[in-house]
Symmetry: none
Subunit: 219 residues, 4 copies
């Protein structure tokens, strides 16, 4: 998962270009059909150079995953963070909004991460996948525990089941949003978001109060 140092000697801009080229190719074609040659060319780099940076295609892939997650958190982590009084439902809201806005400028990366999380590359990532899952889950688990403490989350259900519950909804919902974004193209941006916002809120409502009918009306 670690590129050779030669990679880190490159200008950051170039590093960027290479990884983005890789991400784009992997997302488009999957791991096997992705060609090193194409990745190289799209990054304006020679095939040979790629092998000075990475031992092989798998290294490149694994590092692309790490890079994506890291970048995502570096960029958007602060939005997600984690004020004492923030609860998991706000997090879901913010998270969804971020994903949505991200889809506008970083669609490749977002889709790539989504694919990874959905297990599209299971065979490859099982090894080092823990890295991402840990990162993602730790945060959520934290929120859940906070929520239990401050009374916004019910205490009678195991943390891990709650994690599965929210993660499941979250993944599928992100996928749904991404499909919308994909379909709508890059132009929608704001108008698109209104409709979207309504959906996000509905989802949060479901997370909070479930889909059963006779829920408390006064809430």
């Amino acid at each position: 998962m670690v590129p050779k140092k030669t990679f880190f000697n490159l200008e950051e801009k170039k590093q960027d270009k290479i990884i983005r080229s890789a991400i784009s190719e992997f997302t488009k074609y999957g791991f096997e059909r992705a060609k090193m040659d194409t990745i190289a060319k799209n990054a304006n780099v020679s095939k040979g150079s790629m092998y000075q940076y990475f031992d092989n295609k798998e290294e490149l892939f694994l590092f692309s995953v790490k890079w994506s997650i890291d970048l995502f958190y570096k960029r958007y982590g602060r939005y997600l963070n984690l004020k004492k009084d923030m609860n998991i439902f706000d997090l879901f809201y913010k998270d969804a909004k971020i994903i949505w806005s991200q889809m506008m400028e970083e669609r490749d990366m977002v889709i790539f991460i989504q694919d990874v999380l959905l297990g599209k590359y299971k065979n490859l990532t099982d090894k080092s996948m823990s890295y991402i899952m840990d990162m993602v889950n730790k945060n959520t688990l934290n929120m859940i525990q906070n929520g239990k403490r401050n009374g916004s989350i019910r205490k009678d259900i195991d943390d891990n089941l709650l994690l599965i519950f929210i993660t499941g909804v979250s993944l599928k919902f992100k996928e749904h949003m991404m499909n919308s974004a994909r379909t709508q193209g890059k132009d929608i941006v704001d108008e698109g978001f209104e409709e979207n916002e309504r959906e996000i809120k509905s989802m949060i409502e479901l997370l909070k109060n479930g889909m059963g009918e006779n829920r408390c009306l006064f809430r």
Copy 2:
């Protein structure tokens, strides 16, 4: 997606063996790395024959998907069916139980279907994937509409969002169960199920009433 008639001329047992061999290979290695040769050998069939039954690897894959779904419904469909008064939560319960018991004898197929549903083969299945998704979603959507009608599901939220909601939880939860089954090995069967049953019920509770704290106690 349609094998040649030669395939259907085979004894059913042989058809079975071939598809199961394919499923196992695809699950283990993904589409690209799956080898026709290995699939053939594991089915005690010659490589050449495979091409008398299927035009190419993709056909084989696509048919394997169809076959899996069909078999699944043939076998377990009656359990899922669809009495007028059954609600989606009962469905979830049954579904989960089935998956669990299925993992014992048909783990390859179950995992394969799960992978397909999670989008691992998106690139391939986009074309004809609709087939399954339709089948699965139509059912669920039906239930949702039923539920709304008979008062077990809230009416203020869009059908499709409810679909996403329940599907998301369902997928992730199945994955969780499958991992448990995998870890525990084939021997657990019954003991394993007690713990499992508790989890299923917790999940249904969450689906129904959400994870928020101040839910109505009188329910």
Copy 3:
């Protein structure tokens, strides 16, 4: 060192052609520079087929070695054999004669074996080289022990040193003969052999009685 069974399914003629092509290529260019493609083409076989017969270039090489030795012994072994009363000097004589005549029809193979014995492929063969060395040395060692017993070889010197002594001379002398054969082309055959015979006899004289001056004249 073992080809896949597919190789042995081939007509013996074809097997022959393939290995001879390999031997010729290895001898001409050494292991690294030898191209699978060329070997395949010269054997009227496709590159892909080569990999149905052998796992990789190294397997092919290793098997070529084994094949050469085996063939050599199958063909000429009987000449070398090993009558009770044959002594090592006769063996040397026969051996040299065989090499010489072999150079006429099997020059590639002979040169190849010679190269292997001389250690040209040391890096590759160290692993399984034992096979040949054993074969060659066991025979010679036998002769030496026989010789000691029947009084044609001095007993005051360690078997292994005698082995080194005779092997050293033998290798270098074969090389010398091969160079002659190479230089003279294929036409010499018989005339060439007269001169050759004189040399062989000189060598045996040296092996027997050494190069010191005051050797016993009555011998």
Copy 4:
């Protein structure tokens, strides 16, 4: 075979280091698999610099050969030299002893030279190999002629055959010693030599008097 003058501008120490690094690499991996990069790194020199010193890998190799021989003769030549009354058997003795002691401190170089002499690099060296062979053979041939003149070597056998005879034994025997040295590690030094000395003397005995039984006892 001639490095660029830039090479000779280097401190002698550095020249040394570079060539030794090359020798070590060539010996370990053979010419093709030897990497310029590794050679450079082990000599604490940049890959680019290597190409300021040598036109290409082959030049480097060829010069390494020359350098080895020259060094060998510079260091040990005086021991070998060539007093009027020295005979070839003394030479063999000295030679062997030197090799043995050399194996202790210059094992890389010794092995390298041995490989060259055995023809491991035949394809490469054929061109300029004459340089070494000439050097080595001229000496030996001289000795032989001396020996014939002063009565220590029989006159009835052709010089070149005698050359082959002694060279063959010599090469194989050196190889044998080198293997011993390799096996025993660097610590043996003196104890190892006793056993060794016996072997050397046996070899000379064989060279002088041959391996035949009924040699003259009065000698």
